[in-house]
Amino acid sequence: MIRAFATGLRVHLVHLLRSPFDLVAILIWPVIFASIAYYLIGTEGSTRVLFVASLGAAMMMLWSQVIVGSGFSLDQQRNQGTLELLVAAPVPLVIVIAPVMIASAAFGIYGLLVTLAWGRFAFGIPIAIDHPVAFVVAAVAAIVSIGLLGLIAASLFVLSRAASYFGVALQYPVYLASGLMLPLALLPAWIDPLSWVLAPTWGYRALTHASGGGGAWRDIGMCVLLSAVYLVLALPCLAWFERVARDRGTLKLS
């Protein structure tokens, strides 16, 4: 099963990287988000604040890639007939669906690099990372935990192609509740507990703390903990929605 998971991850990543449309779309997306953030903060902002804003833009792109990109990716599999073949495979559904989600999230690394490069060359923001090892581990933890958060939504994507649009609607609420768009301190206090259960919150904090100031390992630990929780929640969801999809006959586009 580990082999099926690893091959699936590689296959879906290669499939994404060979799509010129996806490559260009993912280039434009974080550049626009980061540019808006830079112009909002203005030249008075310190380079550190601007750098952290670019990390927020990269995390927004990563979440969108998971919740929207993977939804459309599963839809594409429904259209091309591979979703049925994966569901009919002897391995558990989670082993074939999780790589789709995590590959979409890993594709976000490309967006992170584009964002940092854009900030460096267009706005002169130096790429300053104090704890490179922690930064790399934080990036991996963010990808896995956000990918697994998407896995819960994936059970809906397996059920219905219309669910992809539900993913589109989930983008902005998570941007806000994770503090990616605005500092959480500016938002009502009741949003705080919500932010604690969202992987983008901890992924963003982990990357921010690893790039300067330290203390990233606690945030990385939260990403790992949330990954386990998401996986435990996703397993019964996937099993249940697979059963419903088999009952309704929605695994194929017809």
Binding site: G8, R18, Q80, T82, L85, L86, A88, A89, P90, V91
Partner: protein
């Protein structure tokens, strides 16, 4: 024990058209369908589009739940024991879907080998072996998007065989293939049966079923209307003669008049490139030819021939009568 059993299976879908005041419309895809396939048998399920062939296969391959009735594959229930059924079956469908187009043929096979649990030590050998079987050796590193439809179809067969399943479901595997490609694929399918596989084949190409299948069932509107060997189905209309009329200008009122003629049991019109082929089945034999020509007033007749019925004629008679 039969390898495949379908016992009184029905399947209903509910469609909800419209935006406001949506009502559920019941669509019965299968109604009390029963058949069985013995180990090592190549069984054909024949029927027009929308007859229920693919729905039957979806139920047997664990992808769809029946509304009522019971299915069995090697003794396991695809509805309640999908994890027991899935390792035992291969599923191949026609057309150019079901593959990752941006990946190479080898990458496609490698991924499906892993999700179909082919042991790591056997994987490369098995992929090489199957590439030879389907004639894609030397092209395996090319992206699937550059393949012809026939090559994709052969890659499908290789994918379905990766885990060497004892039972194969082939859903219209030759659809859209050119005659040479279709013949090669039929040879591959015949070879699989010789190797001991149990095969359920759906098709609406009667010559394909006649050539390959030991037994067939004809399904139309979700019901089985006949079952037996191709020869026994042909015997069912052995007393008939088929008169083929190649013509132009045949309209529906004329076809209705032909159907009402004494001795005519069925009339089917096939549209061809520049002409129409009118197939008339008759219990009166060739003596009906002159009255038929007389009835074709105002129609340009190019050729008339009388011949013995084929499996396709038996199928047309069965589906037409249903």
């Amino acid at each position: 024990m039969s390898a495949i059993e379908f016992d009184g299976v029905s399947r209903t879908f509910w469609a909800r058209p419209g935006v406001f005041r949506r009502r559920s419309i019941e669509v019965r895809a299968l109604t009390d369908v029963s058949f069985s396939v013995e180990p090592g048998e190549l069984f054909g399920l024949l029927g027009p589009n929308g007859a229920g062939k693919t729905t039957s296969i979806k139920i047997l391959t664990t992808l769809l739940l029946p509304t009522s009735g019971r299915a069995r594959v090697l003794g396991f229930d695809p509805a309640s024991e999908p994890q027991r059924v899935r390792p035992q079956i291969g599923y191949v469908f026609g057309g150019d879907r079901g593959l990752y187009d941006r990946l190479s043929a080898r990458d496609n096979l490698s991924y499906f080998a892993d999700v179909y649990r082919v042991p790591a030590r056997e994987k490369q050998r098995r992929i090489d072996e199957l590439l030879d079987v389907v004639g894609l050796r030397g092209r395996e590193r090319e992206r699937v998007e550059t393949f012809s439809r026939g090559m994709k179809q052969r890659l499908h067969i290789a994918r379905g065989l990766l885990h060497d399943p004892p039972v194969l479901f082939l859903d219209e595997p030759t659809i859209g293939l050119d005659p040479v490609g279709a013949r090669e694929l039929r040879e591959t399918v015949a070879g699989l049966q010789s190797a001991g596989k149990t095969i359920l084949l759906t098709t609406h190409y009667m010559y394909e079923a006649d050539e390959l299948c030991g037994r067939v069932a004809v399904i139309t509107d979700g019901r089985i209307v006949a079952e037996g060997t191709p020869a026994s189905l042909k015997r069912g209309i052995a007393d008939r003669t088929v008169i083929e009329i190649e013509a132009t200008g045949v309209e529906e009122p004329l076809v209705s008049r032909l159907r009402e003629m004494e001795g005519v049991t069925s009339v089917v019109v096939e549209e061809q490139d520049e002409t129409q082929l009118v197939l008339v089945q008759s219990s009166l034999g060739a003596q009906l030819v002159q009255p038929l020509i007389g009835a074709l007033e105002g129609v340009t007749v190019r050729a008339v021939t009388a011949r013995e019925p084929t499996l396709e004629d038996a199928y047309v008679a069965l589906v037409g009568a249903a």
